[in-house]
Amino acid sequence: MFERSSDRSRYPEVVDGKPVVDLDSEKYVKIWHGPQHPGITGNMSLELILCGDEVVDCKTHVGYLHRGFEKLMERRTWIQNFPVVCRIAVPEPAFNEYLYAAGVEELAGIQVPERAQWIRNLNLEMMRLASFLAWLGGQAGAFGNSTIGQWTVTHRDYLLDLFEEMTGGRIYHMYMVPGGVRSGLPDGFEERLEAVLKKVEKLLKEIELVLLNNSVFKARAVGLGYIDKDMIDRYGITGPNQRACGIKRDVRKDCPYLVYDQLDFEVITGTASDTYERTLVRYQEMHQCIDLCRQIVGRMPKDGPFHQPLPNVLHWRIPPGETYVKAECTRGEKGYYLVSDGSLYPRRICIRGPSYTHAFPVMEKLAIGTDIADIAGLMVSLHTYPPEIER
């Protein structure tokens, strides 16, 4: 990371953690970092106030991608919402599908067949790997190593090919329908998955040499965006951002869902809690994804039903009630709060995305005192997806 100037006389006075800035004094520059900027994660923007190269104030702005999903879902039947939910996090739709299905199943009292649970789990871990690959390209690109982005996007495409084979869709799968999944695995899928996992493993070895051992990357990422342990609960930080500071929490382990309680894995943590450590934690989690995919494929039942028959979904009334279901997505705790009033339509669906707090209070705090050149790297290291903020 760039060093802060030690002479603070030219910088604004800080009162209650906020700098006192008079833009009319012409000492400061206000710039918009995004929404059209290669260093921003999706359609959002940061309103930065600079003093020289140093950021003295930051405000996050979203709303460029607001499609009003939570409102739309109140006007659609339960089954009509199933193809809607995957659009809530574009690079990682499977978690939305799973959580929506899990919430509906809990309220309706539906038992999902065991084979469907294993297939869902495989789908989620493949999705995690694909999402991490997309993020890794962004993280490297933010510090100028844009070739890595081309490698990771290619390998993500190999995974998307598998999703296409498995579900019929590359991005939006609409696969985990309430009651189970839409189909079993195609013939020979396990071998083709193994071939892709091997390719990704080989790529990760190269990335370790090119990125994690790269002196420029280390010089810029070490110490950047330090998250103190005290901030974790106060800001609601979850996922790798939390684990990189040494806190061993993971929904997959703490509140197991699907078949995670039958899989062998450890929660990966770090200590330094900066951009480099967060990269390292996610890098290790990618290896963990590969391992989990292999475990699932080796142990999943090959036969049996993959879907529980549903009542006529066009007239499907879910008994009144409410629930909250959660899962560990690549960015942290993702959850769905569903309320049914017994009618054909949901009363309320509220989506808890980890980016909500990571992109707003956390980003706004960490940006202060950072060099403008490091903002993109910091932003990507928090791994935020705007659509899950805007819902």
Binding site: G63, H66, G236, E322, T323
Partner: protein, 178 residues
């Protein structure tokens, strides 16, 4: 979680405890005691994680039900605290001092439901909507279809058909009429 509810019942006017799962429960509390209960849950019962904070509109009863979802990392329990407030005078005590992200949830609730949280920082700044002058859109009486029809218009020359009529006339014509 039943023991937790009994402990809370001795201290606060909590009611309507409902256990949805072994690790998920809901309870209700009157508006005036809610902030005290939430502070107590955070400081003394280990519910240090504010999972989310939202509202459900019960227009037929004239209330907004605020839902504070709290999680205890120690016991792995999640507790939803319901607070009913009147739709007419939709105001609630702010909890922005308890969690940093609470202010943002309150900013969203102000914009989407029109619920006021006096003292909450940046409450009146636009969150998702810019220059919105209609009623708050997440309220049940806001009709998305009527709004879309009044605000947007179809491209000139574009025709549209009712799916039911189209299916009957084009896809499955009645053979007796031909």
């Amino acid at each position: 979680m039943k023991e937790l509810f009994e402990r809370l019942q001795a201290l606060f006017a909590v009611t309507d405890f409902h256990q949805q799962r072994a690790d998920l429960g809901f309870l209700s509390i009157p508006k005036d005691h809610a902030e005290m209960l939430i502070r107590h849950l955070r400081d003394h019962e280990g519910f240090t994680h504010l999972v989310f904070f939202t509202a459900v509109d019960y227009i037929e009863d004239g209330v907004f039900r605020l839902v504070y979802m709290l999680h205890n990392y120690g016991t792995k329990d999640t507790l939803g605290v319901h607070v009913d407030i009147s739709r007419e005078n939709a105001t609630m005590t702010s909890i922005h001092e308890l969690w940093e992200q609470a202010g943002l949830y309150q900013r969203e609730l102000k914009e989407m439901f029109g619920i006021d949280f006096p003292g909450s920082p940046r409450l009146d700044e636009d969150f998702l909507l810019e220059g919105w002058d209609e009623i708050p859109p997440m309220r049940r009486e806001f009709d998305t279809r009527a709004y879309a029809e009044a605000t947007f218009f179809p491209r000139e020359g574009r025709t549209k058909s009712d799916p039911r009529t189209h299916m009957r006339e084009q896809l499955y014509p009645d053979p007796d009429q031909e």
